[in-house]
Symmetry: C2
Subunit: 358 residues, 2 copies
Amino acid sequence: MAMTAYDVEGEVDYEKVVKKFGASLIDDSLAKKLDHPLVPELFFAHRDLDKILANPKGFAVISGRGPSMNMHIGHLLIFKFVKHLQDKFNAFVFLPFSDDEKLLARGLTIEHVLQMSYENLLDMLALGFDPKKTEVMIDLATLKQEVYNLSIEAASHMTMSTVKAAFGFSDDVNIGIHFYPGMQAAHILYPTKKLGVPTIVPIGIDQDVFVKLTRDVAPKMGLAKPGDIMSKFLPGLTGGKMSSSKPETAIFTTDTPDAIKKKIANAFTGGLPTAKEQREKGGNPDVCVVYKYLRIFFGIDVRKQCRSGTYLCGDCKGILTKEMQKMLKDHQSERVKVEKNLEKFSPELGDLRNKFKK
Amino acid sequence: MAMTAYDVEGEVDYEKVVKKFGASLIDDSLAKKLDHPLVPELFFAHRDLDKILANPKGFAVISGRGPSMNMHIGHLLIFKFVKHLQDKFNAFVFLPFSDDEKLLARGLTIEHVLQMSYENLLDMLALGFDPKKTEVMIDLATLKQEVYNLSIEAASHMTMSTVKAAFGFSDDVNIGIHFYPGMQAAHILYPTKKLGVPTIVPIGIDQDVFVKLTRDVAPKMGLAKPGDIMSKFLPGLTGGKMSSSKPETAIFTTDTPDAIKKKIANAFTGGLPTAKEQREKGGNPDVCVVYKYLRIFFGIDVRKQCRSGTYLCGDCKGILTKEMQKMLKDHQSERVKVEKNLEKFSPELGDLRNKFKK
């Protein structure tokens, strides 16, 4: 298994990675406090979460988005969790867009990443974040002076050796990517600078390194160390990693009902070669993506029906298709509503609509 | 001799450096067009100046300032030259402050560099720039979104190898310094992006490398290559390099008449051990800093009087002291006037006054 912030290969041994990172698993007491069905199944590890949840002044949540493409349902899951934290703990939420990093790391044009920032923004805000307790920032469109200043301060405390050791960059990589951990730290620390409370970063485990670097510089900047909540990777529909760049592995928020149906029809399951065999012996839910999606996204557990051969793969796929079509239909209608109300978040988001509405 | 953008050691063989850089000396025809008494004596070399002066749409001038300390008269000279270009060619002038770089390279606090940006800003604007054709930007206070975006675009085209080769950084240097050529390119290219005309950068010859890197990336960004006008180093009062960090080598815009008098009294001259000897044999203006300052700053040439022994060093120092005191007294009074009128340049500069006025 090889994992950097820019690439993951092979099977992930999560407990091993957490130990290697010097992070902690979420225990029962923490899970109870977080009070969410996907803790600890999906959101399973953390740094300093116990300490930050006990902070008398509260905490903020920051969750960024690298807008290279449309969002898929795995992304939605993370931001739904962020919304849960806002509701549960009355937390200020900061949603920064690292479109600058996408330009730098993927060679995308500024026009493309800005359009994607706007599309992704609608997906995020459609989840119902409280406009009074939520701030959005798109680096290449609505960069805050305070955030730029924090990036410079953070960068002043990060040597090239540290960043190279953390990311394994070679010298043919551009200077912007090398600088990016400074801006990432600024994203993470902005609510702390503004509100004087620590931040929690819900994050894919492969991105933990950014939080780690930020934890090293925060005290040098007179700021509280951020904590994080790490999630496992969601399996893609075809069994491997879910990846935006392989559309067949993921369901996007913009997918049509037909596309959803087709993708789920081709999903990797734990079924047997023939219907007859499966009715007799039952399927294997432990390797089945459809089983996993039903649990993770809709809290539906069909283990018994699968094991007993009562439900065949077609049945489960049918349920998942209907649920997913309904979820995304509702999501898309919320998306349309929120687009009309961007001013509730800030006047500049209203300006973005005039520029980027399709 | 060793020269990087961050350090210069030993005597500079200017013609050799220009040749090595692949730049050109300013010839008679160009000097005539520039029409300034310090061309080509001080401003002596260039890139693409002939081409840019002939551009039918005109050009802009950009001249930055790294605000680590108060400005000295050497800095004033550069900005007076910029003002001359504005007057002569009706050119748009962009004056960006790289306070972020000073924080990164010198470990200065944000409060210090911001205060210095403001002080330096007053010195610059006291020279009489036209508010209608001049824009100021302080990276850590009034950063423009367009400039940040240009810095990311420029950085995406600069590899770490290129920057290392240009500056000779080692890996214990922070990531912000490594990124800085991207922001420097953004400063240089901002007027081109905004107005569609090429820029000219009047610059100390040691800083030419930033322009060179910018010239390499500009076409990749669809922008015209900038040109530059390089200046030689001014000798310090004590004979070595003029340096802000050695106050005895420079006269600052904030120096009192007494401080000016004292510094000039201690200046390095071409005098002889005794007054008697000097009256008989004459002094040596070619090594004399006082002689050089009289010529460069005030257009006063005392070569004959020095050579003939008519003027002794005390006489020349007396003239220089009076002229310098008068120049800086006038400057300081213009500085007070412009501080009251910062809004003429932009509302945000007015806000800065409320924050930083002493």
